[in-house]
Symmetry: C2
């Protein structure tokens, strides 16, 4: 494991333990036991390092989607949706970083390929449900985009606190069920 990879894993651990505001170049360097300028020997700037960290996040998210239990297409799509929410709630800091354009570089090749792979997998799962007669005439990527956005907003607002502060729902599962019901029917 070279120093570049060690910096990524150190930063990933620091992110999950201390949050987004802790993954500064100097903080990562200190956690890795090197001087404050060392990380820039391996990354052109902070955004490039954090892009590599976010890529780890998208990779983990993708693995969740690729290891869904064998079931009907519909149940697999529902499981993927729940998996997205689960990932966000289990890794709130990583989830935030993955969509913070001021911290990462969206043009980063590894990052954009992984994030679009997540979307493509999602669209594939949608397409398989369409094969059973669910909205057969709509572009699967269009449905995937809408559904993904709904999940993304639910995770984001839940972590933001705008939903949990209101006392009408103790967990995300309840509004999630409403969302899934809206798209996939009762």
């Amino acid at each position: 494991m070279g120093p570049r990879h060690r910096l990524i894993t150190t930063a990933t651990a620091l992110l999950s333990e201390e949050g987004v505001q802790a993954v500064t170049l100097r903080g990562i360097a200190k956690a890795a036991g090197v001087s404050h300028g060392a990380p820039l020997r391996h990354f052109t700037c902070r955004a490039e390092l954090l892009s590599a960290v976010a890529t780890v996040g998208f990779t983990n998210l993708l693995e969740r989607g690729e290891n869904l239990p064998e079931s009907t297409p519909r149940d697999r799509l529902v499981a993927a949706c729940r998996g997205y929410i689960d990932f966000a709630l289990a890794n709130p800091a990583m989830f935030e970083l993955m969509f913070r354009h001021d911290l990462i570089d969206p043009q980063n090749p590894g990052l954009s390929s992984k994030s679009s792979a997540v979307f493509e997998l999602f669209a594939k799962l949608v397409g398989e449900v369409q094969g059973e007669g669910w909205h057969p005439d709509t572009d699967s990527r269009l449905i995937a985009a809408s559904l993904w956005a709904s999940l993304h907003g639910l995770a984001g607002l839940w972590l933001w606190g705008g939903l949990s502060s209101a006392s009408f729902t103790p967990t995300v599962d309840i509004p999630l069920a409403v969302t899934l019901d809206a798209y996939l029917g009762a």
Copy 2:
């Protein structure tokens, strides 16, 4: 207009013109023509100033919802949904600031009252549609939360670029229509 209010309006203008990364205390002070320490005479910290700015955003958003054209409850809800997306796309920097809990203070009284007022208005509009037999047995706040999250995610992902980069949809209106269709039927 006292100096406190002048700082808020200066910061709001700076935000819309230069984006979130431009609304630093020193940048706002320079734009207002005062010394770098002056803003802290009127706000205890940067987050309090930015919370006041974000409150302006929630107030504007609330006004949109309160000035919907007279129509059926269903069309008014649809108009409110479109209004939310319109607001986000017309004021991307403000929209980002309003949900950046590292920049603002969610506990800020004025801010939290305005943001919850937005949600309450949304729940009221949902309730009026329910009065016409749409999901009559579900808590309107629960439906409002799910629907709001879907819109929020759509706006966020669109501004993030994850949707527009894919060539399957040239505008937000198309995935928005899919979302509205899922919740409110054809």
